[in-house]
Symmetry: C2
Subunit: 321 residues, 2 copies
């Protein structure tokens, strides 16, 4: 097998983008369908996705488990798996976890950048870890089969989630802190604990997570991948590109500000660079998987390892959800 | 002036209870109208209150500012002020703060027992203080005129709120920890900081907050009041009885468990004592204000001080909201 999986995209979805993902031979994409939406607003997002599935049934379909990745390969389509970047759709109700799973949710971040009812986000000053409700939610997510995603969470909360969860968790889109100091990137200790528990790290191609941002070069990215693999094991590494193709800048403003503040928050950006950053030229969209393949081989990974990073590792993880 | 104010009741409201509050000569009561309700559910609670106001217009009316306390005295009625024990009605939207104020909300706890989006509740293991959203919410509550109530909050969060708020805050219903060790009661340092910033402490008559619980005697309560007055100043002390008259036990179960857990949480109670505790015989309802008056005088407070504790201090606080 040599599945190709991008385990995080949040594009301004259109037939054109589904075609690009097909050109990139992606068998599966985990797509963010919610940032700040509550349960009722989630239902609207799902309606929009149902329209995409109907209008592009030759390119995509709704994925629900690992067998849909196999099916996608057979049918030359891309299986779309739903995920949330915040726990807002379950509101304050543990019973909604089962409901969002029925609707197709397979990954849920316990927090976006701020404190949630479940845990602390990476942009808070103090991290109190997984909350009382968070502990109950983790048990329920384990029972139901929704992966705990801690990409935007603070460090203690992430350690807590690794310890509390009976199933491996994921950091679907982030990079190691040793390579590029960003609030969203993760420490060596955390990545080791993640891998020791069987969890997955999806390496991000979002410029704010890359050394030298938009000017990051492929070799540097592949060197980082090699060093990370040495540290935590190559089988725990995949890709979660964080591609936000064709999104207007007002979207990143909404992602950062939601409805929680009246003053403007720039998150990873700044006043002068408040919009979406430009992708590096070797990864302007998922067709960059080809460049990654070459770069990873060049840096010394063998074929099995490269296939693992570009999809098989995520496939194996899905198999165990 | 000698206003009588009970600054926290959550009864199973009926004409009978409004009559009891009139017999007690209460000019104003701050009533909890929300524990876990979201914005839409809040609107239902307000509809229920509008029905109470219509059906009992000879006894109560909806209070909106301190002048309604004066009006209540003139008309021999009780002004009812709305408050929330959780920030759930503003959901994740800072713009709802202005809306709930328009609907009559005058007090809002930043947290109930658990972590909220704004701060940490007293039943969490770790207290990270006021969150990013919480800081914005405090600014907005200050601007709009909603009192920050930290009765059910954890200690660091309460210190944060005192420091961040430009207006005095309140602990509407709790007692000092020195008198009775309960998670909900407050430390000397916290009470001093509260009073130094002009904040108010509403002493609670809820048995779980009382030394010896249901068997607490009036003298002990009044001794505690005297010691507290000595420590933080008598002008910062009022009553927030936390009376839950005629509430069935399933209500306290809902208060504690909401929809955040599938396992049962007993809060201040225990498996064998899971229901509402019995009130001490000298304060079975608001008519106990008469006993408090006698007890406080007996312990050595002068008339002005007693009048302050039983209502005038809250009246002055309302004047500055």
């Amino acid at each position: 097998m040599n599945y190709k999986i991008d385990n995080l995209q949040y594009c301004n979805w259109s037939r054109e983008i589904f075609q690009i993902n097909r050109e990139a031979k992606l068998d599966a994409v985990h797509v963010t369908i919610v940032y700040h939406e509550d349960y009722k607003e989630l239902l609207k997002r799902i309606e929009e996705w149902n329209k995409h599935f109907t209008e592009n049934s030759d390119l995509i379909f709704h994925g629900r488990n690992y067998k849909d990745i196999e099916k996608a390969r057979e049918q030359n389509k891309t299986a779309i798996f739903f995920g949330f970047q915040n726990c807002s759709p379950i509101e304050d109700d543990i019973n909604l976890i089962e409901k969002v799973h029925q609707l197709g949710c397979r990954f849920m971040q316990l927090t976006y950048n701020n404190q949630s009812l479940l845990a602390t986000g990476c942009y808070e000053k103090i991290d109190s870890g997984v909350t009382n409700f968070g502990k109950e939610a983790i048990k329920e997510m384990n029972r139901i089969g929704i992966v705990i995603d801690m990409s935007h969470s603070a460090e203690k909360s992430t350690f807590d989630a690794i310890e509390l969860s009976e199933k491996p968790i994921a950091i679907t889109h982030a990079n190691p802190l040793f390579w590029h100091k960003a609030i969203r990137n993760k420490s060596n200790d955390l990545l080791k604990a993640l891998a020791e528990s069987g969890g997955m790290l999806g390496l991000s191609l979002y410029p704010h997570h890359l050394k030298d941002g938009t000017n990051c070069n492929l070799e540097s990215f592949c060197q980082m991948t090699a060093k990370t693999a040495e540290m935590i094991g190559v089988e725990n590494i995949g890709i979660g590109s964080d591609l936000c193709l064709k999104q207007p800048d007002k979207i990143v403003e909404w992602m950062r500000n939601g409805t929680w503040t009246k003053t403007k928050n720039y998150g990873e950006g700044s006043k002068n660079k408040s919009g979406f950053p430009k992708q590096p030229e070797w990864f302007i969209d998922a067709r960059g998987f080809k460049n990654l393949e070459e770069g990873l081989k060049k840096i010394g990974f063998n074929n099995t390892e490269v296939e693992g990073i570009l999809g098989n590792n995520w496939y194996n993880f899905y198999k165990n959800i």
